[in-house]
């Protein structure tokens, strides 16, 4: 018991010191998820509570600011900190859904395409290349103007681009894995294609998947924010980081904190995910270059 405890401690110490474990990034990510789950319970104000008396209250360190409105208020006197805290949920939902959609599709298509090759592979990969080389923002704008801005459209647009990114990287991995002798030996032993894909190939791409997923969280959050900024993102009264920046734009000369704070939140969360992703890549597989 004690030894296992000591071992765990040693392992953590090793992680932190020798492998430069990104403590800052991980704590940010943990808080991000906590906010997404319990935002309402933690925020000092309800996000949509209008207080016209406290309009454009600056952050606490500036003259006229108050500790109560820690990061200031917007043009309707809504508390920016609270809105950011609640807004985490939307970012999180978009990230989880689109990564799940894109990641799942991409992994399946990548494995199938790489494993079977031939015409199926040709068609799938040409489609993938086309989606990667197409500016996603145009697609999302189109979707939002035709179908109206909604969570589903944002997730669909992001997932549509993400699958191709996953499929491309994973197919590359599968192509080299399937030439390895253990796949040939599994076939000699009579393993079915499904068994080979699930038992022999899939476990060998877990690392790549993990790194890709982590690195893409940041990307998804940024693109979601960009879509909201353009007015093609999530609608509704609930706070969304991207549209908070967009709506705060007009105050950039008078109340800089209104657009600045939510942008800062996006930046910190994305940076954390990217740092964690980079670290994972370094630790798990330093050769994963195509994962960008």
């Amino acid at each position: 018991m004690l030894t296992s405890f000591l071992n765990a401690g040693k392992w953590l110490w090793h992680l932190y010191v020798k492998r430069r474990f990104p403590l800052f990034a991980v704590s940010t990510i943990v808080s991000f998820f906590a906010l997404a789950l319990f935002g309402e319970n933690l925020s000092p104000f309800p996000p949509n509570q209008v207080d016209l008396g406290a309009r454009f209250s600056p952050p606490f360190w500036q003259e006229g600011g108050s500790i109560a409105h820690f990061l200031g208020t917007d043009g309707l006197g809504r508390d920016i900190l609270s809105r950011i805290m609640i807004g985490a949920r939307n970012s999180c939902i978009v990230a989880i859904f689109s990564l799940f959609l894109g990641g799942f599709l991409g992994t399946v298509i990548g494995i199938v395409s790489g494993y079977f090759g031939g015409i199926v592979d040709g068609i799938l990969m040409r489609m993938g290349d086309a989606t990667i080389a197409f500016p996603i923002i145009l697609l999302a704008i189109l979707l939002s103007i035709i179908l109206g801005p909604s969570l589903l459209n944002v997730v669909a647009a992001l997932g549509l681009v993400l699958w191709a990114r996953y499929a491309r990287v994973i197919r590359g991995e599968v192509l080299s894995l399937k030439e390895r002798d253990f796949v040939a030996l599994a076939r000699v032993a009579g393993a079915s294609d499904l068994r080979i894909m699930v038992k022999h190939i899939l476990p060998n791409i877990y690392n790549t998947l993990l790194v890709l997923l982590t690195l893409q969280v940041g990307w998804v959050i940024i693109v979601e924010a960009a879509l909201s900024f353009m007015g093609a993102g999530l609608p509704g009264p609930d706070p969304v980081w991207g549209s908070m920046v967009a709506k705060g734009r007009q105050y950039v000369t008078s109340a800089w904190w209104v657009p600045f704070m939510p942008g800062m939140a996006i930046a910190i969360v994305c940076l954390s995910f990217n740092m964690l992703g980079d670290w994972l890549r370094e630790v798990l597989d330093p050769r994963m270059r195509q994962v960008e």
């Binding site: 040409r126 489609m127 290349d129 086309a130 990667i132 080389a133 197409f134 500016p135 996603i136 923002i137 145009l138 697609l139 704008i141 189109l142 979707l143 939002s144 103007i145 035709i146 179908l147 940041g218 990307w219 940024i222 693109v223 924010a225 960009a226 900024f229 353009m230 007015g231 093609a232 991207g242 920046v245 967009a246 734009r249 950039v252 000369t253 800089w256 657009p259 600045f260 942008g263 996006i266 930046a267 994305c270 940076l271 995910f273 990217n274 740092m275 980079d278 050769r287 270059r289 960008e292």
Partner: protein, 306 residues
């Protein structure tokens, strides 16, 4: 090489057809396209007339070919907002977008090359950490927000640079710097990792064995090979550049395609959006085709094969 280029051109057409089918079917799925074009005050008769005008009474395949043949000659109709032909608006905006994109691309590359190269050569050093933080920031910070911050600092606080429009060359500074920062970080990261890989290769060892100086090893032998792999990601980067340009144009009120798209969204101007998306798509695909041809030409392994 011929084969490579033919494949890419075919691929581009396939993509365009896919895109047009997507747009076409989205319009149909979403309901009556006439509803997208007419406002609420339109009468039933207006709808009837428009349906005939749009050919909505014809079979779906015929409608698609009509749509395609119109799009092929650039006929996207009139903007619902200001009644200007969409092609005219796009034609006016396009050169502005190109100017901004090119300025930023040059700026981004001129920052990314030294950053990525030195960072790889001095892997693990203080410089490397610094460069990676810069590159990491560039990828994590939303472009549009950086634009706002730059406006706040240089246009509002110091009043030394204009914040919107494109009248003088000073107007280029903030938008292209914003876009360049974003592009630069991607290039620098990719360049760093491909440099690390190349520097580890046998032919670099052989160059050192020949007595080639370290600067020549890095800037001649290794850089050329690494740039090649950066170039192979050309298509992806051009798509990213386009995305970035649209955002930056919106922030700085730059009269380009992005600005046009933004106005389109605000005004729910369907013909305009449709035109911007299709033209934007074609431009992105043409430029990534050009990068790929350039890549194929520069890499002898592709140039001298099949």
């Amino acid at each position: 090489m011929k084969r490579f280029i033919v494949v890419r051109i075919v691929q581009m057409f396939v993509t365009l057809i896919l895109l047009s089918v997507l747009i076409f079917s989205l319009i149909r799925i979403s309901g009556d396209p006439a509803a997208l074009l007419l406002d609420e005050s339109a009468t039933e008769k207006d709808y009837q007339l428009l349906r005939v005008e749009l050919g909505l009474d014809e079979p779906i395949i015929a409608q698609y070919f009509k749509f395609i043949s119109r799009a092929a000659v650039g006929d996207f109709g009139l903007s619902t907002n200001d009644r200007v032909p969409v092609l005219i608006s796009i034609g006016g905006a396009l050169p502005n977008t190109a100017r901004l994109a090119l300025t930023s691309l040059v700026l981004a590359l001129s920052m990314a090359v030294p950053l990525g190269v030195i960072s790889a050569v001095k892997k693990g050093s203080v410089y490397d950490h610094f460069a990676r933080v810069i590159a990491g920031l560039g990828q994590s910070v939303p472009t549009f927000w950086v634009g706002l911050v730059l406006i706040q600092i240089f246009a509002v606080n110091f009043r030394i640079l204009p914040s919107s429009g494109m009248e003088t060359s000073a107007h280029y500074i903030l938008p292209s710097a914003t876009l360049a920062l974003f592009m630069m970080s991607g290039f620098a990261r990719l360049l760093r990792s491909s440099m690390l890989e190349v520097l580890d290769s046998e032919f670099i060892k052989l160059a050192r064995i020949k007595g080639v100086s370290e600067s020549s090893v890095v800037w001649k032998h290794a850089l050329r090979n690494s740039l090649m792999s950066v170039l192979s990601f050309g298509g992806m980067y051009i798509a990213i550049l386009m995305t970035g340009t649209i955002l930056v144009e919106t922030v700085f009120a730059w009269p380009g395609l992005g600005r046009l798209a933004y106005e389109g969204i605000i005004n729910q101007d369907f013909p305009l959006i449709q035109g911007v998306v299709l033209i934007g798509g074609v431009i992105v695909m043409l430029s990534s085709l050009l990068t790929d041809i350039l890549y194929a030409y520069l890499d002898p392994r592709i140039r001298f094969s099949g």
